[in-house]
């Protein structure tokens, strides 16, 4: 298998999933790039994670009430799923259509939303918005239960337009007016939650969506230029038809999968980095009746995507999950996973609890001196553990290359094994010097494994490893 094919596959798997081991990359590259893209786009054809076995090991995974349990469970899924893009889409939508545990009755409520993102995430944007609008977690998070026929609460109406579907503006112009915000809020009056079952004595129950026609404003309204007695579904219908909705989704997909874009509030004035690709994705959006899968097919098969190597700063979830996949050892349930899942929070991404309705700021904004230290130390500690099956596999693979390795071969072998990372000349020079100081690299010597692990540790400590 040609190196360039494996390098491209490593790129695809970092973006469309949470990375892959060298062995998996080889197998996928043999299958071919486009075939792999199709496989990723159809997660339903791959086996799902079997909960019954897992619940025997993690008894709290049955109820999923608290946030730590959910974070641990999600980490397990990111590492072990056979449907990597499904999990990536759950993370994508979770980062945009934000419900936070901080304002939620309990963690299980957020989890039901994640389940919907898993099953619907590649489907129609309209279906996703409809299920979002009737999600009790979202209704409570954005106060729609307090929006009444005679006294609207604009919170949901505003965020639906600003953060969930259109964005403030594009090509220098606003996408909606303040009146549209009010009308959206009016159209969604009556979309509320039913009475909750008391927590005591048996524990927590999920809230239910409840439509109250008596509290719905059924009068005529004009929304984005169209007049009628609009209800919530109609508003979502009209939203999905807008060119700005196509732009909004395309830009978010680009930022998440291709390269870091400016943060959302700047989108009205700052044009997309790659207008040609955005336009193609917008076309796919309308041609497919708003299907995300079609937009992603365009994206993953584009040259812009294939060439955008290491153009995104990894999110903390990506750092942890992709590193765990490489070092291995978490393929079956065992204690200690929560401690590792906590690392994602230490690195600044409290899963299921984004800081605000805007979600997390991405790109360089993930990094400060505290979170960078957490990233480096976590990755280096994992790579330095030569008892880990993934680290052993790398050592074995490099040992099979010959009796001795030049320092350059050792560096290249490690970079390849991690997924064809690239280092600038200067950094490589420092690494090679460092290895040279340690004497000739003899693959049968007793300290060979430790020397490989040390090079892996140094590579994952570089700036370059922070990029996907």
């Amino acid at each position: 298998m040609a190196n360039q094919d494996i390098a491209l596959m490593a790129h695809l798997m970092r973006r469309a999933g949470f990375g892959a081991t060298y062995e998996e990359l080889q197998a996928r590259a043999a299958k071919g790039y486009e075939a792999t893209v199709e496989e990723l786009l159809h997660p339903e054809e791959q086996p799902s994670i079997q909960m019954d076995l897992l619940e025997r090991y993690f008894i709290d995974w049955k109820e999923m009430n608290n946030i730590e349990t959910n974070q641990t469970y999600w980490t397990y899924r990111m590492v072990n799923t056979k449907r990597p893009l499904e999990e990536k889409m759950a993370l994508f939508w979770h980062s945009i259509l934000v419900v936070g545990n901080s304002k939620c009755e309990h963690g299980r409520q957020v989890r039901t939303q994640l389940e919907r993102f898993r099953s619907q995430g590649l489907g129609s944007f309209k279906d996703t918005l409809l299920s979002l609008a009737s999600d009790p977690a979202m209704i409570f998070y954005l106060d729609n239960q307090m929006s009444h026929k005679n006294a609207i609460n604009e919170n949901w109406g505003r965020e639906l337009l600003e953060l969930f579907s259109l964005g403030v503006g594009m090509d220098g112009k606003p996408n909606y007016s303040e009146d549209d915000v009010k009308v959206a809020a009016r159209a969604f009056t009556g979309w509320t939650i039913g009475n909750s079952i008391p927590r005591y004595p048996y524990g927590r129950y999920l809230n239910n969506f409840f439509y109250n026609p008596n509290d719905h404003d059924d009068s005529e309204k004009t929304f984005l230029g169209e007049t009628g007695r609009w209800n919530g579904e109609d508003v979502i219908d009209i939203i999905c038809k807008q060119p700005s909705a196509a732009r909004f989704v395309a830009r978010h997909l680009y930022n998440f999968f291709v390269a870091d874009e400016p943060q959302v509030p700047q989108w009205q004035r700052t044009p997309p980095k790659d207008m040609a690709l955005i336009k193609q994705m917008e076309k796919a959006y309308f041609d497919s009746n708003y299907e995300i899968r079609s937009m992603l097919r365009v994206l993953f098969n584009s040259d812009s995507f294939k060439n955008a190597r290491f153009a995104r700063v990894k999110s903390p979830a990506e750092v942890v999950a992709s590193t765990l996949k490489l070092v291995g050892g978490w393929e079956s349930p065992k204690p200690g996973l929560q401690v590792i899942a906590n690392e994602i929070r230490y690195m600044g991404q409290d899963l299921l609890n984004p800081p605000t309705v805007e979600g997390w700021h991405t790109g360089a904004e993930w990094i400060d001196s505290g979170t960078l230290v957490e990233r480096i130390n976590f990755c280096a500690d994992q790579m330095g553990d030569t008892s880990k099956p993934g680290v052993q596999a790398i050592i074995k693979r490099l040992a099979a290359q010959g009796k001795s390795l030049t320092p350059n071969q050792l560096v290249d072998g490690c970079l390849e094994s991690l997924g064809h990372y690239q280092l600038p000349q200067e950094t490589r020079k420092h690494l090679v010097e460092h290895i040279t100081k340690g004497g000739p690299v003899n693959t049968s010597s007793k300290d060979f494994g430790d020397r490989v692990a040390q090079v892996l540790q140094l590579i994952v400590s570089t700036q370059e490893y922070q990029f996907a």
């Binding site: 936070g100 545990n101 901080s102 304002k103 870091d260 700063v313 906590n342 929070r345 230490y346 600044g348 609890n353 800081p355 605000t356 309705v357 805007e358 700021h361 790109g363 360089a364 904004e365 990094i367 400060d368 001196s369 505290g370 979170t371 960078l372 230290v373 957490e374 480096i376 130390n377 280096a380 500690d381 330095g384 600038p424 200067e426 950094t427 420092h430 690494l431 460092h434 040390q454 540790q457 140094l458 400590s461 570089t462 700036q463 370059e464 922070q466």
Partner: protein, 378 residues
């Protein structure tokens, strides 16, 4: 501030989970207290009276001793309008000073920015614990977050000699002269900040010796680390630490848990003060102890549920010791949805610290003008 004086230092201890104000500073003489707390009650004769109405929880002896010396300001009835009873949200509000919308900047992050606008000192602010509390978050402000002061740093999992070499290599790889695009450059300078911070901080435990033996719980150990950093004179101005995740969330079995928590916290606060005293460092250090909300007036038979109207403590040589604000009324018609009404906005509490202690303009830090509480000596 005259030049002979040391820069003021602020230490914050966050009691996560919602400390039960009623069982901390106990209105022992109020019949309504006994009515509302049929079970989760501090017995009247065990309360250590402050006056003929309220007194200390019996497990707070060491803090009471400091109080008797005039070193403790008790800020009563502290909260904010339309109290939120979610831990996360309420703590967010205390952290960001944004009760109406979710904010992204922390009040102390803004204070650090005001102290050191160019980010020249990587150690203006140090957090003890893993992960950064939102109170300290501010774009472009370097803040060190220390899980363990003894082992803090980059590549700490490596063996000593190997690590020295690796750190040397790391500093060359991260040296910011490389010009590989703005994001890599930013990563490089951030990495160097972290390295620099760790280098300076590792001096602190080496320089430190003390006759005070702190307790073994994590709050005590982190307060000891804070004392180590303060006494090492590294120019750190704000230090922060947090009691373990929601430990004060006493829905059930409160009397036992709460007693243990306050036994530890009180001893730690007293140890911390004594430690600073031993190092002649009490004159420029003020400690704030706060929690995100108080608890419901009526107990639930075993503990107490989320409420509002809490209590905060400010400790140090420069505080005006005693009671500040009013103890909120327990009368049914004065309660807000079964909770104590606040009468001191926490942003006023902050404003006093920011202006009268740190010497900064409070308005941009706490997001507006709030009535200060005169608990700092002029």
């Amino acid at each position: 501030m005259t030049s002979t004086k040391k820069d003021p230092v602020l230490v914050v201890l966050q009691l996560s989970g919602g400390n039960d104000a009623l069982n901390t500073i106990v209105p022992y003489a109020d019949p309504l207290y006994n009515d509302n707390r049929p079970i989760v009650r501090i017995p009247t004769d065990s309360v250590m009276p402050i006056n003929d109405y309220i007194g200390f929880n019996p497990n707070m002896g060491p803090i009471k001793e400091l109080y008797d010396q005039g070193k403790v300001a008790i800020i009563q009835g502290v909260g904010y309008p339309n109290p939120n009873r979610s831990h996360f949200r309420s703590m967010d509000i205390w952290h960001t000073c944004e009760p109406d919308k979710q904010g992204t900047e922390g009040w102390l992050g803004r204070a650090v920015k005001a102290i050191d606008p160019k980010g020249e000192n990587v150690l203006t602010c140090v957090n003890f614990g893993r992960g950064l509390p939102r109170a300290l978050v501010m774009p472009g402000v370097p803040i060190a977050s220390v899980g363990n002061l003894e082992t803090y740093g980059v590549l700490t999992g490596m063996e000593d000699e190997q690590r020295m070499e690796a750190l040397d290599l790391f500093s060359r790889i991260y040296s910011p002269t490389m010009g590989r695009g703005p994001v890599v450059d930013y990563l490089s300078s951030t990495g160097m900040d972290a390295l620099k911070g760790a280098d300076i901080l590792k001096e602190a435990p080496l320089k430190y010796s003390s006759s005070i033996e702190y307790g073994g719980d994590s709050v005590a150990q982190y307060m000891r680390s804070i004392a180590q950093v303060i006494t090492a004179d590294l120019g750190v101005r704000i230090l922060y630490t947090t009691a373990p995740y929601n430990s004060f969330d006493t829905h059930a079995g409160e009397l036992v848990t709460h007693a243990k928590l306050w036994t530890n916290v009180s001893q730690t606060v007293a140890d911390f003060y004594a430690d600073l005293k031993e190092h002649n460092a009490t004159d420029n250090v003020t400690l704030l102890v706060f929690t995100e909300f108080g608890r419901r007036v009526h107990d639930n038979g075993s503990g107490s549920d989320h409420g509002s109207g809490g209590i905060a403590f400010v400790v140090g040589d420069n505080v005006v010791g005693g009671l500040h604000g009013e103890y909120p009324s327990l009368a049914a018609d004065k309660l807000l949805e079964g909770d104590l009404q606040f009468n001191n906005d926490f942003r006023g509490l902050y404003s006093t610290l920011v202006e009268d202690w740190m010497g900064l303009d409070a308005k941009p830090v706490v997001g507006g003008s709030f009535e200060k509480i005169s608990y700092i000596k002029k």
